[in-house]
Amino acid sequence: MPNAEYQRLTRSRSRGGFAVAAVTRTSLWLGADHLLVINSNGYTETYKRFYFRDIQAITTQQTNRWKIWSVVWIGLFAVCALVLIVGLFEVAHRPMQSDDFIGFFGWGIPAAFFFIGFLINYFRGPTALVQLRTAVQTETLPSLGRVRQTRKVLEKVLPLILAAQGQLSAAEISAGLSAAIPPTSPQSEHVPPVMS
């Protein structure tokens, strides 16, 4: 049933990157003039609103979690597959027994499970850490866990933020960021600190 007030941007996802069965789950929703982050433990929900006019920056950082999970899945698959191959070689020299079938299923089903896990992780693409910054806080958005998913969400959200705030030119960015970095004088670098 569609919700008139909010549009779902991401599914509910655990807050920790590796915490598959974490208690608190978070999801991202699009409102008329704000983004809504919902943190839920199943029995209570807490809400954080980020109004489009207040959002200063959204940073998307590619992480290694994708590669680590791929190695974990393929490693587990390799162990199961190795046992299966050794078993097949052994069975090839003698007639099949009922225990052999149990062994094949016992190692074959986990091998298939790990391989499917690897494929899902691989095709979902690189993982990401997304942070949303306002004047008073920097909030990590755990529900945006993949680069591809983040791009899809940003395609919907960026036009709304730009409509609320306007576009920044390259010159404005350059001037704004340069002004924030204090110039360092070469003389002051050699002056020892004064203890008071």
Partner: protein
């Protein structure tokens, strides 16, 4: 607040060239691929708070909470005159501190609603989980039924409106209670015969 945007990983301030690019660019500090979308709010100056002007002319409207301060506008909720210090602006509307607090506690101002209890989920959990150890249902089934009826009209989550959990909880609780009643009747009849 500085307008520096640091890398989330190494905290090195990012260069202007790395911002608002269509693709990811490596961080100058840690070389991690990054995409930074900057918006005008990043360079907007934050307006300092106002103290409120003192009443200078006899008979001039003054603030309800600070009679010595000049009123600048009325509260959108209660209509009391407010000085610049007492004016709490929220999404273009102006409230006095008392109405803001009331709106938050009573849930009248929806944009201040930052937490909700999901009574439907609690009722359903009370109806389902105790089935693992059936004896507990003699206590939990009435509790589930009470919660479902008591909070039937209370607002659910901000983005969830279906009462299906309440309905399932009521059905399960009624079935469990019916089971207990039948069991007690059967036990009572068995004792008499």
């Amino acid at each position: 607040m500085s307008a520096q945007v640091p890398c989330p990983k190494c905290r090195v301030p990012l260069l202007p060239e790395a911002c608002n690019q269509p693709e990811m660019t490596p961080c100058p500090g840690c070389r991690v691929p990054l995409q930074v979308n900057l918006f005008p709010a990043c360079f907007r100056k934050i307006n300092p708070g106002k103290n409120g002007e003192a009443v200078m002319v006899e008979g001039e409207s003054s603030c309800f909470y600070h009679p010595a301060k000049k009123a600048v506008l009325p509260c959108d909720s209660c209509g009391r005159f407010l000085c610049a210090l007492c004016d709490c602006e929220l999404n273009g509307r102006h409230f006095c501190p008392a109405c803001l607090e009331t709106g938050k506690t009573k849930g009248k101002i929806k944009s201040l609603d930052n937490q909700r209890t999901l009574y439907d989920s609690i009722a359903l959990a009370l109806a389902v989980y105790p089935l693992l150890i059936f004896y507990f249902t003699v206590i939990t089934a009435p509790m589930s039924l009470f919660l479902a009826i008591r909070y039937w009209k209370s607002p659910l989550g901000l983005v969830r409106r279906s009462k299906i959990r309440f309905v399932i909880a009521i059905i399960l609780a009624l079935l469990q209670l019916t089971g207990w009643v039948i069991l007690f009747i059967a036990l009572a009849n068995g004792r008499h015969t």
